[in-house]
Symmetry: C2
Subunit: 331 residues, 2 copies
DNA sequence: CTGTTAGCGCATTCAA
DNA sequence: TTGAATGCGCTAACAG
């Protein structure tokens, strides 16, 4: 192509990258030759040679790209990255540390400039190692054991506490907890918030009302059905997760109890407002989480050296009806 | 690192890639040197030199990665790609041809091995050009004007027809259509299916019952409210899209008509089964679409030379209640 | 303003 | 079984 334009390869490089310092005539010749040959700049080769070694790609490790929360976060990251000419590799770890490790290796082999990670499992060894090695990393959604890496999390505990206190304020004393795997940081935090909420309301925790480790809507439905079949059933349910809420609502409907048992869910769902009663929920702001994480990551890519940042995004209790149902009279 | 292990650079390469033909002792020396230096294989450099030029990355151009349908498709593609050691760049075009062009350039500069694209706009010039140039491309969700590129689409027309015929079978004659931008292929097809369905049921199309170009839930809500406020309002509504369904249901609820007007939506929604009545919907199978597209793309990457494939995934009508509401008596 | 030379990190010859 | 040279596509550092 340099031959076709009758210039040196370096001149071509200058024109392609818009470096300037090339006469208009030559630039035009190069451009038309490029068009003729259907030339396309190879960013990988460019990156290889260049000093700053930027691939203009980042990795985003989520639990599941199809999860609505994760997808919203992804979009926020993408938007921020797009403004910086950066592409995003989004991958699903499925909460599996082995798969996460594979994915991180794949990402790192491609020399991504940085990583935003919802860490799976509790062993962050590889991530920490990579971070110390110089790869900018931002932990998201789950606070890591260590404090040396930037993180963006949600105030899960506060959200759960608000939910429980709200139910208590409406007269409930028997408030059940249904939640995801306790090994997941967010679930553990929400459980802690539940416990705190009960304490603040002066309610003694009843272990019989705790259903943890529900990792699917089906499991949640079964657990909720069990709770609601009891004679001394709870008058209110706090669901600590999306899919759990779905299962719980199914069980409640099958028993025809949708207007008799109060429900507050953590995380919103599409159509939640159209249920009867509409779902009262602690809503997160995944877009804010994603944007904040991207902001931090890119500031690091730009060379920011301040100590690790730990942003916490707050939640909001959206009262829509299901959480304001008064306690049913005992039967 | 070759120095540290005391071997040649080539031996290192062999060990790293697991090529074999290296003595156990040397291999061990290389491995430990690699561990010591925290060496990581650079896939970009490898790709550059290699002949087959595979970056083990593909591009996935969606309308919006946060859209539940797109996210499910994304996940299916990711799973297939993951088995092949391939990473996915998923990007959001926002239906904007300009943005799509930018994204395609970014993807192509990074030498992705292939592309799965939900094409925005109707000018597929760049995509066709790239395809002729040798980049494997699979069109997804929307059938392109040309037939020379592989495609995977959904039988939108059939799905919409089934929905309308279903409503007609339940006695409805005044069936309204609410749909997205007609410039979007799927919306146009669904509209065509609506028209066909009416024809088959022997119903004359009433232009007053057509609300097209609704590109948000809010727009759909307004349109539906308008329809339902009329004296000669429709007895049934067919919503041709996700967000449109949400808007329509809102309007219906605000007017307290949820049990009086039949509704069938195209696309399912979480919680749809828990509404009263539960939502009858034409459900697609985004996972099947994504998997099929990935299958085709990878078969091309493996060198398959058969003529363009055009897969069509069928839909299913899920009767849950809202579509089986009988026509209300005229008022 | 433009061209030459060298080399990024790796793999592919070809030799030893 | 191992190693030396060569070059992928591009750019930084120098010339001219």
């Amino acid at each position: 192509m340099a031959a076709l334009a009758g210039v040196s390869i370096k001149t071509v490089s200058r024109v392609i990258r818009g470096e300037g310092g090339v006469s208009a005539e030559l630039a035009a010749r190069v451009s038309s030759a490029a068009a003729m040959l259907d030339y396309r700049h190879n960013l990988a080769a460019s990156t290889l040679r260049r000093h700053g070694q930027k691939t203009a790609a980042i990795g985003l490790v989520l639990m599941d790209v199809a999860n609505p929360y994760a997808a919203a976060l992804h979009r926020a990251v993408e938007d921020f990255a797009h403004e910086r000419g950066t592409l995003v590799f989004a991958v699903s770890s499925d909460e599996d540390p082995v798969r996460q490790r594979e994915l991180l290796n794949a990402l790192l082999s491609r020399r991504v400039d940085g990583l935003i990670v919802v860490p799976a499992g509790s062993d962050h060894g590889m991530l920490l190692h990579e971070h110390r090695r110089g790869t900018p990393i931002v932990f998201v959604d789950r606070k890591p054991a260590t404090t040396e890496v930037d993180s963006v999390t949600v105030d899960n505990r506060d959200g759960a506490r608000k939910a429980v206190e709200h139910l208590a304020a409406h007269g409930h004393r028997r408030i059940a907890y249904l939640g995801d795997l306790r090994t997941i940081w967010t679930a553990a935090e929400r459980y802690a918030g539940y416990v705190e909420g009960l304490a603040r309301a002066g309610i003694t925790l009843d272990p019989a009302l705790i259903c943890a480790d529900l990792h699917s809507a089906a499991a949640a439905e079964a657990a909720a059905a069990d709770l609601l079949h009891r004679k001394d059933r709870p008058t209110a349910l706090f669901s600590a997760q999306n899919l759990v809420t779905v299962g719980l609502l199914r069980a409640q409907q099958k028993l025809g109890l949708q207007s008799d048992i109060a429900v507050v869910g953590f995380d919103d769902l599409p159509l939640a407002e159209l249920l009867h009663p509409a779902l009262t929920a602690v809503v997160q702001n995944p877009a804010a989480v994603g944007r904040t994480a991207a902001e931090i990551l890119f500031s690091r890519l730009d060379g920011a050296h301040h100590p690790p940042q730990h942003e916490v995004i707050s939640t909001r209790l959206l009262m829509r009806g299901s959480g304001e149902v008064p306690p049913a009279v005992a039967h």
